[in-house]
């Protein structure tokens, strides 16, 4: 009897911890992307920075939850038991395309907290069709810390159906971790 009580207490404690951690990740996500609000995290690197970081191929990176993402959340509100927040990841690389303009790629990401019971629940932004994910966390000053975990990369172009152009982020060491200050929406244009 005593063993059963102890086991029940242990299970309850584990469940509470897991729930708190999941709530923490969910809370982190909601702090990064307040409901019904357009949000923009953006960083553009200048020439001096890029010269000092030759292993970085990213010139600019933005994570935006603008009207298209908010509309999608609005339309799917209350559906499903594992809520997610769509956002857009926009990355400009050093190499140039037509008219010598830097190549820019964008992908929709679905950000959500790891499920309860995950060993170390985190908020995670996933690209569909096995395109990989990144971990967004909120810095003390409200900026987004953007991290691609070791051994992983993000397929930002050439996803589910468009195989015309494939592009991955995170294959170079300098393209795995960024700090993106929160900015007015204009910075994500």
């Amino acid at each position: 009897m005593r063993a059963a009580v102890l086991l029940a207490l242990a299970v309850a404690a584990f469940a509470a911890t897991a729930e708190a951690a999941a709530t923490g990740a969910q809370g982190e996500l909601e702090a990064l992307f307040p409901p019904n609000q357009a949000t923009c995290y953006a960083m553009r690197f200048d020439a001096a920075w890029l010269a000092a970081h030759p292993d970085q191929s990213v010139v600019a990176i933005r994570v935006m939850r603008g009207y298209p993402s908010l509309r999608e959340s609005d339309e799917t509100s209350g559906q499903g038991e594992w809520p997610s927040m769509p956002a857009q990841l926009i990355v400009t690389f050093r190499d140039t395309g037509e008219n010598a303009t830097p190549r820019q790629y964008g992908a929709e990401v679905e950000c959500r907290a790891d499920r309860e019971g995950a060993p170390d629940p985190k908020a995670r932004c996933v690209i569909a069709c096995d395109g990989g994910d990144f971990i967004p966390t909120r810095d003390a000053d409200g900026a987004m810390h953007f991290a691609i975990e070791d051994g992983r990369s993000l397929r930002i172009a050439g996803g589910c159906t468009n195989h015309r152009e494939l592009r991955a982020l995170g294959t170079q060491k300098g393209d795995r971790i960024f700090t993106l200050p929160r900015q007015p929406l204009e910075a994500c244009r």
């Binding site: 603008g66 009207y67 159906t161």
Partner: protein, 184 residues
């Protein structure tokens, strides 16, 4: 004699068509289209914050070719269209042109993006009498208006962006069906 079951199935299939047919009326497959609007001095005087003085949305020969290619590539649904957006702003003599790819047909609306610069989007929805309504940004169900934008060229990373923005008075445009000349 045709089976009544087939007849019922046919009627059911036709009943499912209106939303699609509604959009197809604005953008019939394989046929060029043009919708345009030029705002006169009186309108602009009454809307001092409106930047757009002329706007057109067309599917010209190259757009129809692109639509064929989309289907040939097997990448998209039949509802996807290619279009050419032309915009002229107040005090700017240049007509800015963007090639768009439009997809998604919720309530007959399509969402259009300019492939050169990411993140921008406008909504194109059918309106009465063959007209279309172009929206920049939109209103959520709680009544909040969320602004948005669309790049009109490939100036994504320059200091001088050419962007159609919802702003104070550029949120919605009603464009009437027009002859092709109006979209040149």
């Amino acid at each position: 004699m045709a089976s009544p079951i087939i007849g019922v199935a046919l009627l059911a299939a036709l009943a499912a068509l209106p939303a699609r047919a509604e959009t197809d009326r604005s953008f019939p497959e394989g046929r060029p289209t043009c919708h345009a609007r030029v705002y006169d001095a009186a309108h602009l005087a009454a809307h001092p914050h409106q930047r757009v003085v002329a706007i057109s949305f067309a599917r010209i020969t190259r757009d129809l070719a692109a639509e064929k290619q989309f289907i040939a590539d097997g990448e998209i649904t039949e509802e996807m269209i290619s279009a050419t957006l032309r915009v002229r702003f107040r005090g700017d003599p240049v007509t800015h042109i963007a090639r768009l790819e439009c997809d998604g047909t919720r309530n007959g609306a399509r969402y259009c993006e300019a492939p050169a610069c990411q993140g921008g989007e406008i909504t194109v929805a059918p309106a009465a009498h063959g007209a279309i309504r172009i929206s920049v940004g939109g209103t959520l169900t709680n009544g909040t208006f969320v602004p948005h934008f669309l790049h009109l060229d490939d100036s994504c990373e320059t200091n001088r962006l050419i962007v159609l923005e919802s702003g104070a008075d550029d949120r919605e445009f009603l464009l009437l069906a027009a002859p092709p000349e109006a979209c040149r």
